[in-house]
């Protein structure tokens, strides 16, 4: 409601102790809203946990992920093998643990790559407008014309299947997504009067873009990046599942799942656990992204 939002607006309403300095206060308000959003908190904790597992994976994992033990193949979950063993008798729990680093690596690096290019294109497109904008956006339209996983599929076809190539493929498919988000935010920030004030002061385009536009579009960017890590992990594991990504015997979750297809009837755990791992990681990033969106959104000020 208009009246209420007018009333509730204004930082002086923030429920913070008044003696903090403003910058710290701003951060605390953000943190406060963030904490309040428990799903985001759970997401964040899970991600930290996964990063922890990535670092200490070899210590945590009870077995070597590559060591085969044909005698004990396709064993169900037991106290020896928490997640059971696969068709080569490898310990699935250890393989899932080791797979974490591959998954996180693909997720983070593809998004960082894609976002960097996308942000650059989006800012240039939004700030300069006109012909440059049309050209960049038509180019993005071409990339967006390949729906879903198809673009990544096409790129992997060209590059060949490997973990690194999956990163490139997912990164390229994310470029138009970031370019569009950033272009939109740039357009709305560009309209604000303080940008005109900087122009009136004689500031250069570079200064305006990097000092006055970029810092003010980071919130939607961070949200988009977090959510896109989830998407990237799904796409990448999908490609591996199809045999176009990480190659055996790497313990990549999608590839492990693919192995499990043949044993659904007599050893369902082979497909179950890597899949669950993907669900939990993706869920964590989605939760964190949702939470960040709420925290940054001025509309959900409580």
């Amino acid at each position: 409601m208009k009246q209420t939002s007018q009333l509730m607006d204004g930082s002086n309403l923030s429920p913070m102790p008044p003696d903090l300095n403003p910058k710290a206060k701003y951060r605390r308000v953000l943190f406060y809203k963030f904490m309040r959003n428990k799903t985001a908190l759970i997401g964040g904790i899970l991600i930290i946990l996964f990063i922890f597992i990535t670092i200490f994976g070899s210590i945590i994992a009870p077995y070597d992920p590559y060591t085969q033990d044909i005698i004990n193949k396709l064993q169900g979950p037991s106290s020896d093998h928490w997640f059971g063993t696969d068709n080569f008798g490898r310990d699935i729990f250890s393989r899932v643990i080791h797979g974490t680093s591959i998954t996180l690596f693909i997720g983070f690096s593809s998004v960082i790559l894609g976002a960097t290019v996308g942000v650059l294109l989006g800012i240039i497109s939004g700030y300069y407008g006109g012909r440059i904008d049309s050209i960049i956006m038509r180019l993005m339209d071409v990339l967006l014309a390949f729906p879903g996983i198809l673009l990544a599929l096409a790129i992997v076809t060209i590059l060949g299947g490997s973990t690194m190539n999956v990163v490139y493929a997912v990164a390229i498919s994310s470029i138009p997504v970031f370019a569009r988000v950033v272009r939109g935010s740039t357009l709305s920030v560009k309209k604000l009067e303080y940008i005109d004030a900087m122009k009136a002061l004689g500031a250069s385009d570079i200064r305006i873009i990097f000092k006055h536009i970029f810092p003010n579009i980071t919130s939607p960017l961070i949200v988009q990046a977090t959510l896109y890590i989830a998407t990237a992990i799904l796409s990448a594991s999908g490609l591996s599942f199809l045999g176009l990504g990480a190659q055996p015997p790497d313990p990549e979750w999608g590839a492990m799942l693919s192995d499990g297809r043949s044993y659904l009837y007599n050893a369902p755990h082979v497909a179950l656990f890597p899949g669950l791992a993907i669900v939990v990681v993706v869920l964590a990033f989605n939760m964190l992204g949702d939470g960040l969106r709420d925290a940054f959104d001025p509309k959900t000020k409580e």
Partner: protein, 345 residues
């Protein structure tokens, strides 16, 4: 307080509406009392955050969570609206009490035609069928001065200008011939020449249809043009209530006086600097404990700062919330509010 209830179409007594955040309560409207005589216009003036819009939404009980009406009485034709069921309230809304809003651009549903939106009121409150309702809608459009109404009923809001949309809002509000029209900043979003048209229209329709009007505005000029009575609000309270002549000729509250002085007018030359009210409106979480205007008032004494004055009646009708006019006043015995106050930047 006016004694005879029958004379007033609306009486508000000690209304309190608060908004809640997780940690504290914002008293947006705090102990507001005023009345509107039948067929008269009351103007509520105040700056943003004074609670004037919340007051108007409270009357129709359109306050939504996290807001809540927590006390007082709203007597409409002598009956307390706060005691009515939601279903009974719905029968009153748009039928006996109608409301128009500030933004004619956003206050109309973009996916419904003008005709559908006006005739809805007839369907709800008079049980009319589509055809009859549309016929009435066309008549209403004619009444509010919209050219070729037969064509307009089939149009969507985006096809109309701002002034036209506000006319449509008025047509919608007056469809069921209400006893009270609440107009919340009806002309703030419009240009002056269009504002003049709309104010003229409201005045004209009021005299023809005989309804009471509650006009909410921040513009003293609009009040002077259209209202019979004026309530001045500050920080969720009425600080002064008076008939128009008294208020403009002899304002009593230091805030009212300051407000009038600080506005440059187009029909008079002013020498030197504008008079100013020092400081700013306190934020809702830092409301002073005494008189709410005390921190900005140049006459404030210890009494003002420590104790909230009551709204007291003088001349039978007019009311004032200020210690200067009470027996307890501890400041100068002769306060001359109308002397040129010292201006500060």
């Amino acid at each position: 307080m006016r004694a005879v209830t029958e004379e007033n179409i609306l009486e508000i007594k000690n209304l309190q509406t608060s908004f809640y955040t997780r940690d504290f309560e914002v008293k947006a409207v705090d102990d507001v009392t005023f009345s509107i005589p039948r067929q008269k216009t009351l103007g509520i003036v105040g700056e943003s955050g004074s609670g004037k819009s919340i007051t108007s939404l409270s009357i129709l009980r359109l306050i939504e969570s996290p807001g809540k009406i927590i006390g007082g009485e709203i007597l409409f034709k002598g009956k307390n609206l706060l005691g009515k069921s939601e279903a009974a309230m719905r029968k009153i809304r748009g039928n006996e009490i109608s409301m128009i809003f500030q933004e004619p651009m956003t206050s109309l549903n973009p996916t419904m035609t003008i005709g559908q939106q006006i005739s809805e009121a007839y369907k709800i409150h008079q049980g009319l069928q589509k055809k009859a309702a549309t016929k009435h809608a066309i008549e209403m459009l004619k009444l509010v001065g919209i050219p070729s109404p037969e064509k307009r009923v089939k149009q969507y809001p985006f096809e109309l200008s701002g002034g036209m949309r506000q006319r449509v809002m008025i047509a919608m509000a007056l469809a069921c011939n209400p006893d009270l029209l609440i107009a919340d900043e009806p002309t703030t979003a419009l240009d002056v020449t269009i504002q003049a048209q709309i104010l003229e229209l409201i005045k004209d329709l009021q005299s023809r249809l005989g309804m009471g009007v509650l006009l909410i505005t921040h513009d003293l000029g609009v009040v002077a043009e259209t209202c019979d009575y004026v309530a001045v609000m500050y920080c969720g309270q009425v600080v002064e209530y008076a008939d128009k002549r008294s208020l403009f000729k002899d304002p009593k509250h230091p805030y009212t006086v300051g407000l009038m002085r600080s506005i440059p007018t187009h029909d008079r030359d002013l020498e030197g600097d504008l008079a100013v009210i020092k400081g700013t409106v306190p934020s809702p979480d830092e409301i002073p404990s005494g008189c709410r205007f005390a921190p900005r008032c140049s006459y404030a004494t210890e009494l003002c700062k420590s104790k909230l004055p009551d709204l007291q009646t003088y001349n039978d009708v007019n009311q004032i919330r200020c210690w200067i006019y009470s027996d307890e006043w501890d400041g100068d015995s002769e306060v001359n509010l109308h002397a040129e106050s010292e201006s500060t930047t």
